[in-house]
Symmetry: none
Subunit: 234 residues, 2 copies
């Protein structure tokens, strides 16, 4: 059983992540913390014996990266999966230098989450089953992270990962909600295709629909990128 602590300031998101973890066999949630102070207490508790921390990098009191540093200073080698909405390469690099084993970008679907945690579990069992490494090649094999392609299989028929990625990016980078027609113009796509992908994003709760009234003609629905998916969608 891999014992997980969740450090996340938004209670709704924390609850969602807890539910995610508990859906996976072999994982259990030991506790959660909403800020760094609580997290320190949680992790420091003698009977906790935590294996893995899902660490949000944006906490109210001190940054998650500082918390990670503090953990390392204390000599704790608990594994960390960084969870954040920050899409900053520098943050990624810093997190990795503190020994984060994975970097998850919010919001994520259960599939992506599952993939990362299962990869971690595999890594963990590999390490524990091998008592001592005998060669460089073996070390390399132990540390290798398997290429994941399970996410692609979860796509409904007729949709492409590359296109979905392009649509997601365009929507995310737009400050205002986008209609299918507007996104089509930006992304060199047809209106029909743009709508299909936007509908998919809305279906998996990565985007919300917002009808626009007030103009003549049939109302146009605009889509807004969601950074906090609702937890009722399990």
């Amino acid at each position: 059983m891999i014992r997980v602590a969740i450090v996340e300031d938004d209670p709704l998101t924390a609850e969602l992540h807890t539910a995610y973890v508990e859906r996976l066999d072999g994982f259990e949630v030991i506790g959660s913390a909403g800020n760094a102070r609580e997290a320190r207490k949680l992790i420091g508790a003698a009977d906790a014996a935590i294996d893995l921390v899902l660490l949000d990098l944006t906490l109210p009191d001190i940054g998650g990266l500082d918390l990670a540093r503090a953990m390392r200073s204390a000599g704790l080698s608990i594994d960390i999966i960084a969870v954040t909405a920050v899409r900053d390469i520098a943050a990624v690099q810093t997190a990795m230098s503190f020994g984060a084993v994975q970097y998850l970008i919010k919001p994520f679907t259960f599939q992506v989450f599952q993939e990362k945690l299962l990869a971690y579990a595999a890594y963990r069992s590999r390490l524990s089953s091998a008592s001592s490494a005998t060669s460089q090649a073996e070390i390399d094999r132990l540390l290798a992270v398997p290429r994941s392609s399970s996410a692609a299989a979860a796509l409904p028929k007729g949709l492409t990962a590359a296109t979905l990625d392009a649509v997601s990016r365009a929507l995310r980078e737009s400050p205002a909600p986008l209609s299918a027609a507007e996104l089509a113009e930006r992304g060199d796509l047809s209106r029909v295709t743009a709508r299909r992908y936007l509908e998919h994003l809305a279906d998996i709760d990565l985007a919300s629909r917002e009808p626009r009234y007030g103009t003549p003609g049939r109302p146009e629905v605009a889509y807004r990128w969601l950074s906090h998916p609702s937890p009722d969608r399990l």
Copy 2:
């Protein structure tokens, strides 16, 4: 230029590693230290601006792992490659939790050493060229590099080095991205073969896929050569 510090207690080995580093283009040795105290001074020097430390884990005064911890405590996110004769899984795991990007077992050949450092260089240039990541997939791609090894060495079944070389060259010399059909026409290959090799190049991150939208019919995917570290050095 990647600035390297070498921390190694045995002078002969330190010299050897220095020579190894200097055989590689794009790397330079800033200094070396024989124990943790010297290492701290070397790394702390304001004008050092060190990118990478080759860190021996068995030092006379304090352990290399403790030095790594001290570096992290100080907020330094300098990359570390752990170098040691210790074949202990626990040490590997601890080193990785302190954010080591590689783990090299002494003694190693120049080949192995080169492979690890070139992989690191690729990882680094990838990170610096991308200012902000846009998707989980991209993060995964960025982070996959440093820990996977010998990707180029082992060719999958059904591929030939000569053909791969020809395809690589053709793609590299083309200013615009090329589709499989286009490359087939240029290179005297069938579309099928061209596609197989282009897919391989994309899989090992030497090329990127870019679907072309806007025209009726199924979108055509074009491949673009990614210009990072020199492949002629292999």
